[in-house]
């Protein structure tokens, strides 16, 4: 993992002092709320329905056990005993007090964490593949470049007041777990014909009110030019992005209005001036950061582990968890374990302080003290010996973290919705809870297979509904909560935007509608066909027919 040196430590510490001063100026009346708001947002502090909310950055989703314990401590000491992991690999605390947020930031700084740029019209936390470094299908560990981008983007003087927020995702694997095509900039690591590793640069993707799949602006960008190329894109966007309409301010709208060829021409022109500037990444700097992400000291193991196979044979529940929550590791004898934060009937992504502590302990015992946060709002222990999986699973069961549903229907993404959020039109969490209760039979979920349901409480699409196999969007109809359903979306390398199936369903009816969609799929799928494949084959019509037949 990356460790702060004196420069990183100094910066976050100074930032805490700066924010303490800004909070004092607000409390004394020197700053009005209008002046203070952008300052607090730059430090991730929102005002929600019932309280402030502090969003803490988990850079590229990587946490140490020490950091996780600190999050647990903050949850207990400054909040109501829990935190909420988000689709951007961050964590949110829902009840901090304004006066105490500088103290929380000081606590975070102690463990090399911060809340810088987790909100505001600036470059946000760079996200990545939750299996980075452990995935079998990876060219290189993308976190090296995420960290380089983190530093470059932190307090970037030119890009702090962009037209709108700006999100970058990096993946090093062919199978895209970081949704790079729905980010403002997506970086997909590629090997060129000469065997060198660089980036395919994708620009202008995004969800929100106008979902757009990003387009490739450059097939291959050599590593040393990463920052100058990003700076060129941002500089073009900062000058030309729309500032007259909040909903047209994202880079996707600019790319669309300019056309990708013209936009690329503007970027390349800008880049030609700064390509060989001080932004060029020296080889030794890449190497320096790489050493932080060097693989842990894996033992040399056989890939087939007898005791693991025996337990899997003997214990059906364990086998069921392994089937969904354990993924292949690049090292023989190791596995990647996903810890589901989606127990039946509970808010997706929430973890209580004692669960966080338990995960920190388990990571220490079984995963070289390393934890990942996924954009699907789960946690991951990336480096577990297969021989330890049974013991790990038993311990997870004790703390109610062993739900065997990763990738299944109940592994839903849901934004906080109207239960917390000022922008929401409708609730998301209770809908997710009711769906998971309706489908609580895990046998049934296994039979249904891979199915991603994503729920957003408003058009801003924090719940990624556009790219859910089944997407639910909360809308307000004359003061009533309704849900519009889209089908056929996808966030992986086959990115697709879901299509609206028909008129929205009420809060009371939406779970029945989801069940009808699932039943329709079960009736028409050919053997072993996943939901998304069936949808690609048959389209909306059969689903429309069953959903609206009686109307």
């Amino acid at each position: 993992m990356y460790r702060y040196d004196e420069f990183d430590h100094t910066l976050v510490t100074e930032r805490v002092h700066q924010f303490r001063d800004q909070v004092e100026r607000r409390l004394s009346g020197e700053l009005t709320e209008d002046q203070f708001k952008p300052l607090r947002l730059m430090n991730g502090l929102y005002l929600q329905l019932h309280a402030y909310m502090l969003r803490v950055a988990v850079p590229y989703g990587t946490l140490s056990s020490t950091q996780m314990r600190k999050l647990a401590y903050i949850a207990r000491r400054y909040d109501k005993g829990y935190g909420h992991f988000t689709t951007r690999q961050n964590i949110q605390f829902n009840w901090p007090k304004l006066e105490e947020t500088p103290d929380i930031l000081a606590e975070l700084a102690e463990v090399e964490m911060h809340a810088i740029q987790t909100s505001g019209n600036c470059i946000r936390n760079t996200t990545s593949d939750q299996f980075a470094g452990a995935a079998a299908d990876e060219i290189e560990d993308p976190r090296v470049y995420c960290e380089i981008i983190r530093q470059w983007s932190t307090l970037h003087p030119e890009f702090t007041f962009l037209p709108r927020k700006f999100k970058i995702a990096v993946t090093g694997a062919d199978h895209d777990r970081a949704a790079v095509r729905v980010h403002d900039i997506g970086l997909q690591m590629r090997r060129n014909e000469a065997g060198e590793v660089g980036f395919e640069v994708i620009v202008g993707g995004g969800l929100g009110r106008t979902p757009v799949i990003g387009q490739t602006i450059r097939e291959f960008l050599p590593k040393q030019h990463l920052l100058s190329y990003l700076e060129a894109i941002l500089r073009v966007y900062n000058q030309l992005g729309r500032r007259d309409n909040l909903y047209k301010a994202r880079i996707k709208i600019l790319v669309r209005s300019e056309g990708i060829e013209n936009f690329a021409r503007l970027v390349e022109e800008e880049w030609s001036h700064i390509k060989d500037s001080a932004l060029q990444l020296p080889e030794d700097e890449i190497t320096r950061i790489e050493t932080y992400f060097a693989p842990p000291r894996y033992e040399r193991l056989e890939d087939t582990v007898r005791e693991f196979e025996v337990k899997r044979f003997e214990d059906r529940d364990f086998a069921s968890w392994v089937r969904t929550n354990v993924t292949a590791h690049k090292e023989p004898g190791y596995a990647v374990a996903t810890i589901s934060l989606k127990p039946t009937g509970k808010p997706p992504g929430d973890a209580s302080a004692w669960q966080m502590d338990a995960v920190a302990d388990l990571a220490e015992s079984y995963s070289f003290s390393e934890i990942r946060v996924t954009h699907e709002q789960n946690l991951v222990l990336p480096n577990v010996r297969k021989a330890d999986l049974y013991a790990l699973w038993q311990s997870l069961r004790d703390v109610e973290l062993a739900t065997p549903n990763a990738g299944l229907l109940s592994d839903m993404i849901a934004c906080p919705g109207l239960d917390y959020c000022n922008l929401a039109n409708a609730r998301s969490i209770p809908v997710a809870q009711r769906i998971s209760e309706r489908f609580s039979d895990l046998e049934r979920q296994h039979d249904i297979g891979s199915l991603k349901i994503k729920i957003s409480g408003c058009i801003n699409a924090c719940g990624h509904h556009h790219v859910g196999h089944i997407g639910l969007l909360g809308v307000d109809k004359k003061g009533e909560e309704f849900y519009q359903i889209t089908l056929g979306g996808s966030a992986d390398e086959n990115t697709a935007i879901g299509k609206i199936v028909g008129p929205a369903f009420s809060y009371d009816d939406v779970v029945d509608a989801v069940e009808k969609i699932v039943d329709t799929y079960l009736n028409i799928r050919s053997e072993d066909e996943e939901f998304s494949d069936t949808f690609r084959r048959v389209g909306l019509t059969p689903f429309k027919e069953t959903l609206y037949a009686a109307h």
Binding site: L27, H50, G81, A351, S352, A353, L418
Partner: protein, 107 residues
Amino acid sequence: MKMSVQILTANRLGDGAVVYRAKAGGWTERLSESLLLATPENAAPVLAAAETPQASLEIVGPYLMPVDTRGGQIRPVETREFIRAQGPSVQFGNGHDVENTPLSLAG
């Protein structure tokens, strides 16, 4: 359309808690103690007073919201205001270690 009765709401500066302009002056967390504003003419000066720099030392983002006063009880009209008044409608933190009884929006 009959003008509904309004009350003035905001979030408290220090902890963000939902508060209402109180009958007795100042701000209260209890809907039942809130100051009823029967007409827009009543409401305007109360809102204006909450938008001053002095008021901003106590509260953030004041606005008027309609309420239902039938049966002598003050109840919000909008779902959002129900949730603001009573807290999240869901159990949070996976239901552990936290003081929280989810509200029911039924009825």
